[in-house]
């Protein structure tokens, strides 16, 4: 698989993951472009035996997103803005109900991240854990906690 084919095939996945992780589609677009630029530079280091292209691109995207949050002096303010529910004036997805959108805004960035990887991108526990840099058990625990929060939020809304 060439890099152009990989980029064409997994662009939506990377963008969706970053959009759910950052909660900002504009920032997600910038970070997606930066992710593929870095992937182009590091494409020779990609080893298919160690994981799929999608997993590798999601790892790069997460690194790029964390670097974005850490790089500037406004890191703390950006993280706070990213975590603030008032910041989300856009929809995560067009097909989601308003209650679920509101419940998703109530999650933290880490919880939205694991939901995006496991549910939106449909990665298995091992791949998602490799992207997040945690153990598969921890990844599953984090997903269950996020789903429980969403369930409680929807129950309160109903």
């Amino acid at each position: 698989m060439s890099f152009a084919e990989a980029a064409e095939q997994h662009l939506d996945d990377v963008y969706g993951y970053l959009a759910w992780f950052t909660g900002d589609r504009g920032v997600a677009e910038e970070l997606t472009a930066e992710t593929f630029e870095r992937a182009l530079r590091l494409w020779h280091r990609f080893d298919p035996k160690r994981g799929s292209v999608r997993t590798w691109l999601c790892q790069l995207a997460r690194t790029v997103a964390l670097d974005h949050f850490r790089s500037e002096r406004r890191r703390v303010r950006r993280e706070q803005l990213a975590a603030a529910t008032e910041r989300f004036d856009e929809r995560f997805a067009d097909s989601l109900s308003p209650d679920l959108e509101r419940a998703l805004r109530g999650l933290s960035a880490g919880e939205r991240e694991v939901v995006a990887l496991r549910v939106l991108l449909d990665l298995d526990a091992g791949s998602a854990a490799r992207v997040l840099g945690i153990s598969p058990t921890n990844c599953t625990t984090r997903l269950n906690r996020a789903l429980r929060k969403l369930e409680e939020a929807l129950h309160v809304a109903a």
Binding site: A7, Y15, L100, A158
Partner: protein, 273 residues
């Protein structure tokens, strides 16, 4: 709404990248270089280069590996009269393809103090070595030691002549000479001991008042006083034997406690100018 319903609704969500971002990523992907493949032509170029590098590496390893045997050339040269370049040429030639560690020691006995010591140091450095120690002893000039000095001069002159005879044969190893018995070295070592013993007995007899011995000793000292001063060459030869020159200073004052009493060597005799 249960978790299963939440999951089902979340799975219906589809996030698509905007067309602007897609075009931008395509532009980035277009900059990717074509994938490298190991073609037969590249293989033909790479295999000889790798083989040459491996051969060079093996040659370097084999040539620098020590053989494990330790060859020692323990010859001791007697290089008194040997010129420096000739002495350097006598070093054994190293065998090819092997690392050989050489260890050699050289002992030089020379006549004359300053020039000879310089020459010995020059020979040592020409052989690629360095001086470990330098021993220098000279003869005193006092008159009390005149009789013994004559003996020393004669002894040293004999030793010098024998040494000069040996010098004419060139460089010689020391070990066979030791096995065969070095007569010159034996004279230098043993004759002073006999002279010291004779002088000690005479001094003891003089103090004890034995007339014949005292008269003989007085005649000998008078004869020694009439002897002309030693030539420079004799003094120079006497300087090579430190025992003779040093121990005659104690002849006149033995303690009498034993036969060899008072014959101890002075700590540091004056250096011969």
């Amino acid at each position: 709404m249960s978790q299963r319903d939440v999951l089902a609704e979340l799975r219906t969500a589809q996030v698509e990248a905007p067309a602007q971002l897609r075009a931008r990523v395509r532009l980035i992907a277009a900059q990717a270089p074509p994938p490298r493949r190991l073609t037969r032509r590249r293989l033909l170029l790479a295999v000889p280069a790798l083989a040459a590098a491996a051969a060079i590496a093996v040659a370097v390893v084999v040539s620098t590996r020590p053989s494990g045997t330790h060859v020692t050339h323990g010859s001791v040269f007697r290089a008194e009269a040997q010129p420096a370049p000739k002495a350097a040429a006598s070093a054994p030639a190293p065998p090819n393809g092997r690392v050989v560690r050489y260890g050699a020691s050289l002992r030089l006995r020379v006549a004359g103090v300053s020039d000879a010591v310089k020459r010995a140091l020059h020979v040592t450095s020409a052989l690629g070595g360095y001086p470990v120690s330098v021993h220098v002893a000279t003869a005193p000039h006092d008159r009390a030691a005149a009789a013994a000095d004559r003996t020393a001069a004669r002894t040293a002159a004999d030793a010098g002549r024998r040494a000069a005879d040996r010098r004419s044969h060139g460089t010689r190893r020391r070990a066979p000479a030791r096995r065969g018995g070095d007569t010159a070295g034996g004279a230098l070592r043993h004759r002073p001991a006999r002279a010291r013993l004779r002088h000690a007995r005479e001094a003891h007899a003089l103090r004890a008042g034995r007339a014949p011995v005292a008269r003989r000793l007085r005649r000998r000292r008078a004869a020694a006083a009439r002897v002309a001063p030693r030539p420079a060459a004799a003094r120079g030869r006497a300087a090579q034997e430190p025992l003779i020159c040093a121990k005659t200073r104690k002849v006149g004052s033995p303690t009498g406690s034993s036969e060899n009493s008072g014959l101890t060597q002075p700590s540091s005799p004056p250096r011969d100018a």
